[in-house]
């Protein structure tokens, strides 16, 4: 009886309610993309003036910039290794181990791993510089010299390894939090039943826990891959992208071209490239990891 009445009371102007969100998106997302898109087709240099519209920036990216292949390879190694070993691998390991030990201890460890995430980026960066400092005051140098090993100069000789490590340790906490809740949400009767049936602990992990983690891991991979591709603050702080361009992934390369040299138009063109790469990678992952099923409506929760 009441249904027709309710229908007449539905919100009349949904656009009005969405207006703040649309406004924010326009000003902070759409606007910069459009501005960037325009700048990419100009010759804007260090004085920020536009002399003419040109396609030269794109020609330079595709044909002349000999740094691009190396930068792309660096990006692939950096994103791939950080994602695989730390943002997913270490995160999953932390989630599984901290849920297997007593509750309080587990929470304590998870809290510890969240510390770098909570500390300011500059502080975290300086800590890593101190750790990697090859002089006797550096942490790593103190450890290696205590064991009589030669001093390693990570920032100079293994800069890519250093930034993967630094970014990975701070990045593992995201997966840790999400996967912990995924592990917790597995009904305990499933693993109990498996154990009764004679499954080993490894078997429980393999056949009960792992399947429950696969969907959140797909989401984490997609999300973190994008975030790793577009952020560079720790790299800028720790190695500055150097020596030369050795630890400069694509996002930092854009920054260095635009803001170290004042080649703003070229930076904008490179940034358009990053947008394209981001979209392609996301679509590929969507397809390959079957994200559609992750976001599909649950099949069992019938109300």
């Amino acid at each position: 009886m009441a249904t027709p009445n309710l229908r007449t009371h539905r919100p009349a102007r949904p656009v009005l309610y969405l207006l703040p969100a649309i406004g924010l998106l326009t000003v902070f997302f759409l606007g910069p993309i459009i501005v960037n898109g325009v700048i990419a087709f100009t010759d804007m240099g260090e004085n920020l003036r536009i002399g003419k519209f040109t396609l030269l920036n794109f020609e330079r990216i595709v044909q002349r910039d000999a740094r691009i292949p190396t930068v792309l390879l660096t990006t692939l190694i950096y994103v791939g290794a950080t994602l695989f070993f730390f943002n997913v691998g270490l995160g999953a390991l932390l989630a599984i181990t901290t849920t297997a030990i007593p509750e309080r201890l587990g929470s304590f460890f998870r809290g510890l791993w969240l510390l770098p995430r909570m500390s300011p980026a500059v502080l975290y960066g300086i800590l890593w510089i101190w750790i990697a400092d090859p002089t006797p005051t550096g942490l790593l140098a103190q450890v290696t010299s205590a064991f009589g090993l030669p001093v390693l100069n990570l920032r100079n000789d293994f800069p890519l390894f250093l930034i993967i490590l630094a970014n990975g340790i701070v990045g593992a906490s995201f997966a840790m939090v999400i996967l912990t809740s995924a592990v917790r949400s597995i009904p305990s009767h499933l693993s109990n039943a498996a154990r009764v049936d004679g499954a080993s602990e490894w078997g429980v992990l393999r056949h009960v826990v792992a399947p429950a983690l696969s969907q959140p891991i797909r989401f984490i991979t997609l999300y973190q891959a994008l975030s790793l591709m577009t952020t560079y603050e720790y790299i800028l702080l720790i190695t500055g992208g150097g020596p030369v361009y050795d630890s400069t992934p694509y996002a930092l390369y854009i920054y260095r071209r635009a803001f170290e040299n004042g080649a703003y138009a070229y930076g904008a063109a490179l940034a358009l490239g990053l947008m394209v790469i981001g979209i392609v990678v996301t679509l590929l992952q969507w397809r390959l990891t079957d994200m559609r099923s992750t976001f599909a409506a649950p099949k069992i929760e019938v109300l």
Partner: protein
């Protein structure tokens, strides 16, 4: 009665308001780089403002200059130049800004630097005595002067004599070093060999250290190797491969022989200066103003502050010649007070600069920060003459050269520095670095930079 009272009240009130009225504030924005050893770049302009304010007051003019200083924490003067350019592009440029001289062309071209020729002609009391060579450094391509030189200085290699004593060199050798360098007998390779002896003799941890970021000092070595950065005839920047290869090769050998640490360019200023001050490094190349932290107890060690004590420990040489019989090289890198051409207070800002350029003020700056005089008069001033550091540095000006006043030189130098970094860190050989720099220059500047096989073709 009421009328009279009303009139009286009005008059009284007006007088009161007039008396209480604030003088009109004229804001002059000054932009410079943070530099704790050279505060007078700011205080001289403030003192000049105080003089004019007093004159305003005496003349009953209801105006008051307020100097607002933006002390930037940018990584270096080049980055500050980029910052200022951004500020200008949005109409927020400072009224007066301190600029390394090689950037003047760019700011002049953009219309952000006030041409100073007429001001210089009109105010001989401030400008007639300035060293002519400094005016050359302040000229843009059109031949006009766009900035007022400050911070004259000289770059050099500082060497630690105590370390030479430690490895058994006698006083005759130690004291004859500057003369040998001057005569072209002692070359850059000899300097490397000597540094290696010091390091091998365990007298120092590092042989030679230089700045960790883009700058001017290391360009002295390039000049010793005969590198020219600009073709004087065409006014175009150039990159002579053969000479560049030799100069980068010297830095490469230094790093491979353990004379310079491979990560010199990743070290902090504190670590580098600390290493020299705490006597862990034999040689440091920079400018005479580095004496500011070398004297006394800064940077973790105490050094003598008197002339004899200091020169007993430390010696100065220009960049030695590349080959025996060649000429040593020295660089000077004046900074300029530049006035914003678009400022509505441009004339007033120029007046402040004129006052701050007077011998009294520049000498105040010089003796505190160890920069050399910009005018002849200063060298006769007691306070300047008493400063033994400046007296000792003046003769080194004989070889002083400048980096080219080219609008693109700042960016060119950044590319050159990344090549230097590549060579030192062992990422590239000198030959690879030459190709890398040539490729980068071509990419960034296209035909604006001439890539040549050698200077002379």
């Amino acid at each position: 009665m009421t009328k009279t009272f009303a009139l009286f009240a009005t008059v009284a009130l007006s007088a009161l308001v007039a008396g209480m009225a604030q003088a009109e504030d004229i804001k002059i924005k000054l932009s410079t780089l943070v530099d704790k050893t050279a505060p007078a770049r700011v205080t001289n302009i403030e003192a000049a403002a105080a003089i004019i304010n007093d004159q305003f007051k005496a003349a009953g003019i209801d105006k008051h200059i307020v100097v607002e200083t933006n002390v930037s924490a940018a990584k270096g003067w080049d980055d500050l130049a980029l910052e200022d350019m951004k500020a200008f592009s949005v109409g927020q440029g400072p009224d007066i800004y301190v600029l390394p001289h090689e950037w003047i062309g760019k700011f002049a071209e953009d219309g952000n630097a006030l041409p100073m020729d007429s001001k210089i002609a009109a105010n001989p009391w401030a400008y007639a005595d300035i060293l002519p060579v400094l005016w050359t450094a302040a000229k843009a391509k059109d031949g006009k002067i766009y900035g007022i030189p400050q911070d004259a200085e000289i770059r050099m290699f500082f060497y630690n004599k105590d370390m030479l004593r430690k490895i058994g060199k006698d006083e005759a050798f130690i004291e004859s070093l500057p003369a040998k360098v001057e005569a072209g007998e002692f070359t850059l390779d000899d300097l490397t060999a000597l540094s290696k002896q010091v390091v091998d003799g365990k007298a120092a941890q590092y042989g030679m250290l230089h700045r960790p970021n883009v700058g001017i000092d290391y360009l002295m070595v390039f000049q010793s190797y005969g590198v020219k950065f600009m073709d004087d005839k065409t006014g175009k920047l150039m990159f002579p491969k053969a000479e560049m290869l030799k100069a980068l090769g010297w830095y490469e050998r230094n790093a491979r022989q353990g004379v310079t640490p491979a990560d010199n360019t990743a070290m902090s200023w504190d670590a580098i200066q600390g290493a020299f001050k705490q006597e862990k490094a034999f040689i440091f190349h920079q400018g005479v103003w580095a004496v500011a932290w070398q004297l006394g107890d800064k940077n973790g060690a105490t050094w003598p502050t008197d002339k004899d004590g200091y020169f007993h420990k430390i010696g100065w040489i220009p960049a030695p010649a590349a080959e025996k019989g060649g000429k040593p090289a020295n660089l000077s890198h004046p900074l300029l007070y530049t006035v914003n051409a678009k400022s509505k207070n441009a004339d007033l800002a120029a007046d402040l600069v004129a006052l701050a350029t007077l011998p009294y003020f520049n000498t105040e700056h010089d003796v505190a920060s160890y920069h050399t005089a910009i005018s002849n008069a200063q060298t006769a001033m007691p306070k300047y003459k008493e400063n033994w550091v400046l007296s000792a540095a003046s003769p080194m000006m004989a070889h002083a050269q400048f980096v080219p006043n080219h609008t693109q030189f700042g960016s060119y130098n950044k590319v050159l520095f990344s090549g230097l970094q590549a060579v030192e860190t062992g990422k590239m050989t000198a030959a690879q670095a030459v190709d890398f720099i040539a490729d980068e220059l071509g990419l960034q500047f296209g035909a604006d930079v001439e890539i040549r096989e050698a200077v002379s073709n």
